[in-house]
Amino acid sequence: MAERERRITPPYGGVFHARSQVMSPDDIQRALWRMAHEVIERNHGLDNVVLIGLQTGGVPLAGLLADDLQQIEAIDLPLGSLDVAFYRDDIGLRPVLPEAVTDIPFDLSNKTVVLVDDVLFTGRTIRAALDALTDFGRPRSVQLAVMIDRGHRELPIRPDYVGKNLPTRRDEVVNVGPLGVELGEMRK
């Protein structure tokens, strides 16, 4: 998860200090269960729907969402992961993680792609992801599911499915992990 990115310490990282817990692990499960129903409702079922988790925070969430959808509709959805490092407009500001790989073992043409990420912030990751997707085919539509929408968008991008809207200050840090969703900040 985001923890791995943070491990690569200064000048990029630091240590995350949580100030408060915003969602418990159970809250995340409940939000995913609701989002799963919303995905089915919006798409009138799951025909031609595929899930793609964004490296690194979105991948485990995409897996959990796929499990929920499987329980509800008894369909195993195609599940992929996408690393957008090579498509970012701020390359050089973030380290590339060799262990975060792109794995999309299916064709995206005429599919409804649900992108899954943990936190939606500036929107730049999603812009990069949209660029990357065009190299894999021409999806019929692309939808966005995020656990936390924390605002501060810098691009005209909005989510279709949201776990929780969380007003934040720009310098705060949101961490989605096994301990749930925490709000805090980075300290050296």
Partner: protein
């Protein structure tokens, strides 16, 4: 680190970082559109004072797959014919605004000099008998792909070690990753400094053949052969060529490598070169993603190891961006 001049510059950690990142670029290479915009707007120039097929094309393919622009400089059609010096040539090219120079030259140390003169990132694509670091990196990647790891593997580098930059880079890289290296060559084709190398030396290929995981054959380099170091090529083949009979005596699962171009029938029999144990075309295929990783680390990544130290620290936003985005 701003340049890739030798394997020693990279060290074990640097080699590991390149190989780990190569996996991502192998995945990119397998896509329907094998191209990412990571180095968009960057210019990579290949400055080749020596002939090359695979290295130059491989670097240019790698740069193009990263979205960079490429320019090729070939000596034959340039002002070098009019006597322009290397330094003037480099400064002329850099004045046009380039980000990386891929340099090959017949004399050892030219890439180091180019790195001192210029402002762009310099990648050594082979300098004289000195080093060819990206070849060593792609060889390490290929061995890992086939054998899982280099740790404890027994690798023989066979042939004209004396004139081989590939041998020097590969000895450094293979031993850095924990392999045991044996040089197999007639005494006349071994460098006089070989005692200082972290290798064992053998003059009898048949003696070591059965214990090898990798047989790495070097090309007999006629063009660098100024004196008669072997009586005849036929005699060389009899003693050191990987013939069909010798290949049959290799251990199960052992692989055959060659940096190319091959002299079929001299250091390697055609049947062996095209056989199931040969990974020579895998080496070429892996060259592209390995060089993508090198270019990306030098020009585009946020990797600390490859970030020039003189670069100022990023503002607070960078730190924030790492965590979210």
């Amino acid at each position: 680190m701003r340049h890739l001049l030798s394997i020693a510059d990279l060290g074990t950690d640097g080699i590991e970082e390149v190989l780990a990142l190569t996996d991502s670029f192998v995945e990119v290479s397998e896509r329907a559109i094998p191209k990412v915009p990571a180095l968009r707007g960057k210019t990579v120039v290949s400055l080749f004072y020596e002939d090359s097929t695979r290295t130059r094309l491989s670097f240019e393919t790698a740069a193009k797959r990263l979205g960079a622009d490429t320019m090729t400089f070939s000596v034959g059609t340039s002002s070098v014919k009019k006597g322009e010096s290397v330094r003037d040539t480099v400064q002329t090219i850099e004045a046009m605004g380039v980000d990386a120079l891929v340099v090959r030259h017949g004399s050892a140390g030219v890439p180091v000099q180019v790195a001192r003169w210029g402002t762009s990132a310099v990648i050594n694509a082979g300098d004289g008998w000195h080093e060819h670091p990206t070849q060593a990196l792609l060889d390490c990647y290929t061995i890992r792909e086939r054998l899982g790891s280099l740790e404890g593997r027994h690798i023989a580098i066979v042939g004209d070690v004396k004139h081989s930059r590939v041998a020097r880079s590969n000895v450094a890289a293979f031993t850095a990753l924990g392999a045991e290296v044996t040089l197999v060559a007639p005494p006349t084709l071994l460098p006089s400094t070989v005692e200082g190398w972290p290798v064992t030396v053998s003059h009898d290929l048949d003696d070591v053949l059965g214990s090898l995981d990798v047989v790495y054959l070097l090309r007999m380099q006629h063009e660098r052969m100024t004196e008669a170091l072997v009586p005849t090529l036929r005699e060389y083949t009899a003693g050191y060529g990987l013939t069909v009979e010798r290949a049959a005596r290799m251990a199960d699962g052992a692989i055959v490598m060659h940096p190319g171009p091959m002299n079929r029938g001299v250091e390697i029999a055609p049947e062996v070169a095209d056989g199931p144990n040969a990974v020579i075309l895998d080496q070429v295929a892996n060259g592209v993603p390995v060089r993508m990783a090198v270019l990306f680390l030098l020009l585009g990544s946020g990797s600390e190891m490859f970030t020039p130290t003189e670069r100022p620290a990023e503002p607070l936003l960078a730190e924030e961006e790492v965590v979210r985005g």
